[in-house]
């Protein structure tokens, strides 16, 4: 099992995208480790790095596991890289939120929610691989349907889409609360 553990750690280190447990099961087929065993190893590793409080941790993201730097060290990495962090404009974030929650969604539906034309923003998000075309809606004109990508999950530190807070939860977080029965503390 120690060797399996070492292999898993090595693969995580060498991988450039989050590693799904399924990939590891397949990789280690001849060793006969099942998914449960792999996940146990992954979780064990994750715990080890967390306890070590070193510069790196293993995070669960986009359906897999990935080495990354500790968030509280971000300023140092940024300084080291001497570049500006990539930023998304407010328009891009709003559009991304609509796509994430409403997917699959057409441009017309996005425009309706935001009250403005999202054409240029959608193009930018497509270029940055945060959204993708997932099909066409079977209505007159067969408009393109958009959805989010794995890259979106990776960038926004989400295990999967279910980790997005529901819109209702967010409404509850709003300080003013609903005029009706808001029980904000």
């Amino acid at each position: 099992m120690d060797e399996i553990r070492a292999i898993v750690e090595a693969v995580l280190f060498a991988a450039d995208l989050p590693v799904a447990p399924e990939r590891l099961v397949e990789l280690l087929k001849e060793r006969g480790v099942d998914r449960q065993g792999i996940v146990a190893v992954l979780e064990d590793l994750r715990e080890e790095y967390a306890q070590r409080r070193g510069g790196m941790e293993i995070r669960r993201v986009a359906g897999g596991y990935q080495f990354c730097t500790r968030p509280d060290l971000a300023a140092w990495i940024r300084r080291y890289r001497a570049g500006r962090p990539p930023a998304l404009s407010a328009a891009a974030l709003e559009t991304l939120a609509v796509v994430a929650y409403r997917q699959p969604v057409t441009k017309a539906e996005i425009d309706a929610v935001r009250g403005v034309d999202a054409g240029g923003v959608l193009k930018g998000l497509l270029e940055r691989k945060l959204i993708r075309i997932v099909g066409r809606k079977e209505v007159p004109g067969r408009p393109i349907l958009y959805g989010t990508t794995k890259r979106f999950l990776e960038v926004f530190h989400l295990k999967d889409l279910s980790e997005l807070p529901t819109l209702e939860e967010m409404r509850a977080l709003r300080p003013e609360g609903e005029p009706g029965g808001g029980t904000a503390p």
């Binding site: 962090p85 930023a87 935001r114 009250g115 403005v116 930018g124 926004f156």
Partner: protein, 246 residues
């Protein structure tokens, strides 16, 4: 009386409306439509006066607001008649739309607060694709001036000129081309200049306007770049592209 107008950057008509609601500390479910419509139209006027290309969406919402306002002025007398939707609050649909938009606005903020890859957490090595993505974003981040900012700066400049005196029309040959050349010459000599210094002294509005148009043309051509180093800081104009030591 002079008063300073601060323009926020709005993501669209709904965003502007939400801003007004927040600013007036109004309950979204009970919008005083007359007040909000007035303020909304004032904002549109202001944007128009800056010659901003008012997107059609803003006008659509203006029409909606006015329509709601007129419906609210009508007495409710058709209680007997069961006219579909007539008994409803005319604001209902707009309120629902605003609520929905607000929820997504918050969702967007929530996304932004997450630990973002390449901002808060970093994976091993920077792949070329990430560098490209980051490079694309830097453009958004850099405080380069858009037309909006330049026009606002120009408005301030014009305001400083004071009221224009009686206009005498004479055929002075000002050409845009010559103004562009003047700017380029100045920039080549001095490397970069403050926005205000580009403009000729004196109260000649036409010269100022020509110079401004020339500047816009140069920015559009990509010959010069206008930027700020700090928000609301002085605007600098530099030649773009070349280390042109003259």
């Amino acid at each position: 009386m002079d008063y300073e107008v601060k323009l926020e950057v709005f993501q669209g008509p709904l965003d502007l409306l939400l801003y007004l609601i927040r600013k007036n500390e109004i309950d979204i479910a009970d919008i005083p439509i007359a007040l909000i419509t007035r303020q909304y139209l004032e904002h549109l006027e202001m944007m128009k006066s800056l010659n901003l290309d008012l997107a059609g969406e803003y006008l659509v919402l203006a029409a909606t607001l006015i329509h709601i306002k007129s419906r609210m002025l009508l007495p409710e007398e058709n209680e007997g008649e069961a006219v579909e939707g007539e008994g409803e609050d005319p604001r209902q649909e707009l309120v629902a739309q605003l609520r929905e938009y607000q929820a997504f606005k918050e969702a967007a903020l929530a996304l932004e607060r997450r630990p973002l890859l390449e901002r808060d957490v970093f994976k091993r090595g920077a792949r070329i694709e990430d560098a490209v993505a980051a490079g694309g974003a830097v453009e958004e981040e850099e405080m380069e001036m858009d037309l909006f900012d330049l026009v606002a700066a120009f408005q301030r400049l014009l305001a400083r000129l004071g009221p224009s005196g009686p206009m005498t029309v004479n055929r002075e040959l000002l050409s845009l081309k010559r103004c562009m050349e003047t700017i380029m010459d100045n920039l080549r000599q001095r490397g970069g200049m403050a926005f205000d210094d580009l403009f000729p002294d004196g109260r000649d509005r036409r010269k100022v306007i020509y110079t401004f148009l020339a500047l816009l043309e140069l920015v559009k051509m990509g010959a010069v770049k206008a930027f700020q180093t700090t928000p609301f800081g002085p605007i600098r104009v530099v030649l773009s592209g070349g280390a042109d030591h003259g």
